[in-house]
Symmetry: C2
Subunit: 194 residues, 2 copies
DNA sequence: GTCTATACGTGGATAGAC
DNA sequence: GTCTATCCACGTATAGAC
């Protein structure tokens, strides 16, 4: 049975994070006040401090949560490199489009993290990038891909895929499936996949 | 002959813009105060308002100046599509690396522009992107490139090239020339250039 | 052209009542 | 668990002296 009192507490935390995420992504961390976040959730500013020690930690927890969700959602597919590359490209674009605010925030507000917090996020991001590097390395080892530099190819593919979020609109000229398919083709061509 | 009095005025404006650029790029527009900018230049905050009507205009002028410099620096090369693509790729990466603060700012702080100012910057950016689209269209028309969608390929190539600025360091593993050459190869492969 | 002083709003964060 | 009240620093911008 759910508790009667305090039941709102279990829902207030997530609502605060959701509001902070939306506002930070829209206006930038520095431009958003704790009062704005509180208003959005229907609280007074003081009440926020029951859920976060300060504004910086609120930002950090949003970014950390995003990176961990991303890693968990990706899993670690197996199969031949070509299939895993296809899966990575499609997963990455789809996940980015479905979590646009989180993705935008986790690139834009890195500079507003304290050094210790920054290191944590960067390490999680690196772990994700390494998933793609491993695919490329395996494919190159088998002769399926032609890659001069695996790390550089990793960064180039991820940068290309990230670009989608800056212009894709659901009502746009290209369907989501077309965008996925075309990027799959471009990613493969880039590294000389058969 | 330079004037005696007021000679400092001709140098103060640029110094203010340079300081604002550096601070905005490093900490974000919203996080930087007019007092910080003034201190950086060795002025009092009030003196800044002799050079800009307000903070928003200071940001806008920085972005507009950058986009116009970019367009002027690119010019409009001619020659066969392959050569023009090669030139675009190299120019874009080199210019971005040499103007990292301006480039970063012009992507990150778009959301802090008033709608009218935003429209001006976006229109300039589109004019630049169209330079690449034209190259791709010409190449596709001649059968030199295999491109399913010119606009999407344009965005994909620019996103890939922009990615360099997020990780390239002069002291890094790859030389600047290697980075240029490898991206030239990847850009060509992406669109099936011969 | 620059400075000092200042108006006035808003920032993050805390104390203590309920 | 939330609110009200409040502290104090700092924000943009302006007025007026020099």
């Amino acid at each position: 049975m759910a508790r009667r009192t305090g039941s709102s507490a279990e829902v207030t935390g997530p609502r605060i994070r959701a509001a902070a995420l939306r506002l930070f992504a829209r206006h930038g961390y520095a431009a958003v006040s704790m009062r704005q976040i509180a208003t959005e959730v229907g609280l007074q500013a003081g009440a926020l401090y029951l859920y976060t020690p300060d504004k910086q930690t609120l930002l950090f927890e949003l970014l950390r949560g995003h990176m961990e969700d991303l890693l968990a959602a990706y899993g670690t597919p197996d199969g031949p490199p070509e299939a895993r590359l296809r899966q990575f490209v499609r997963f990455h674009i789809a996940y980015n489009l479905d979590h646009a605010d989180e993705v935008f925030l986790s690139y834009m507000e890195l500079r507003n993290l304290e050094p210790a917090n920054f290191a944590v996020i960067e390490s999680l991001r690196r772990r994700y990038e390494d998933q793609l590097s491993q695919i490329l390395r395996d494919g190159a080892g088998l002769g399926a891909f032609q890659i001069a530099d695996v790390r550089l190819a990793t960064m180039a593919i991820i940068a290309m895929l990230n670009g989608v979020n800056t212009w894709y609109r659901q009502s746009g000229r290209l369907s989501r499936e077309e965008v996925l398919a075309l990027h799959e083709t471009m990613a493969k061509s880039m590294i000389g996949a058969r």
